[in-house]
């Protein structure tokens, strides 16, 4: 029979097999990376950006993430860059996408790595010099039975 006790014993043993992760970025290095993205005098506001990412992730190696920005995407008023940053990956930067009125829509999708559960922020740099953002928390559950 299943012996609940054996199963319980298995869980930490399996966990212990997971690879050790390198030292992580910190909220401070993320702030620095964001400051570099904003440049001189840029101020960050919340809103107009939406992050679509699963709140609970089965494996941090490949996490689908989609970012959309509310913008008419006209020559006068459009998104120029979209940046994604993390708090606890080895490096805070993930991607910087460059787009313009020829994109038609401000929407990008990619797949990213998450070393652990953490906060993610996406920032849109607009043609009028304003910066808009959204941040979200993602929980990464650990894969069992990883190769030792």
């Amino acid at each position: 029979m299943p012996s609940r006790r054996a199963m319980l014993a298995a869980a930490p043993a399996l966990l212990a097999l997971s690879a050790t992760r390198p030292a992580s970025a910190t909220p401070a290095t993320m702030r620095d990376a964001i400051a570099a993205f904003l440049g001189e005098g840029g101020t960050l506001r919340e809103g107009r950006v939406a992050i679509d990412i699963p709140p609970l992730v089965e494996n941090g190696n490949t996490v689908p993430i989609a970012i959309t920005v509310e913008s008419p995407m006209t020559p006068q008023d459009h998104v120029q860059r979209i940046g994604v940053f993390t708090e606890r990956n080895p490096l805070p930067q993930v991607i910087v996408a460059h787009l313009g009125p020829r994109a038609g829509r401000a929407a990008i999708t990619t797949r990213m790595r998450l070393a652990t559960s953490q906060r993610i922020i996406a920032i849109a740099a607009m043609s009028d010099g304003s910066f808009w953002s959204e941040s979200t928390e993602v929980v990464v559950t650990l894969a069992a039975c990883v190769e030792g």
Binding site: P22, N61, T62, V63, A66, T86, N89, P90, L91, Q93, V94, I95, V96, A97, H98, L99, G100, R102, A103, G104, R105, A107, I108, T109, T110, R111, M112, R113
Partner: protein
């Protein structure tokens, strides 16, 4: 040559917004991961992706080690004129790849 899967519509109506998707085989070695013998494997990533429509760049992205192995990107562009879409990836150790697709734009 790395394997690439591109999704580009063969035809599109002028002025419509089309989605382009690109998947390429690449390990995106982060530079933080220990190899089998213990020492850290050197960074080997794709650093830049770009898409041009008849030579005019319509989208580009700088990638960092936090982009997953076998990078996947989906983005949009407005169909303008029939022509050639050029997709390029550039990275460490001289990695460079270019793929092209024809697209027919109808009025």
């Amino acid at each position: 040559m790395a394997r690439v899967i591109l999704q580009v519509p063969a035809t599109a109506v002028r002025g419509s917004v089309i989605e382009l998707r690109a998947l390429i085989q690449h390990p995106m070695e982060t530079g933080f991961r220990p190899g089998s013998s213990g020492e850290v494997l050197p960074r080997d990533i794709i650093r830049r992706f770009a898409c041009a429509w008849d030579g005019e760049e319509v989208f580009s992205a700088e990638l960092h080690p936090a982009i997953a192995a076998n990078p996947y990107l989906a983005f949009t562009t407005i169909a303008t004129e029939s022509g050639t879409l050029t997709f390029t990836w550039k990275g460490d150790n001289g990695f460079a790849q270019t793929e092209t697709r024809r697209i027919t734009v109808t009025p």
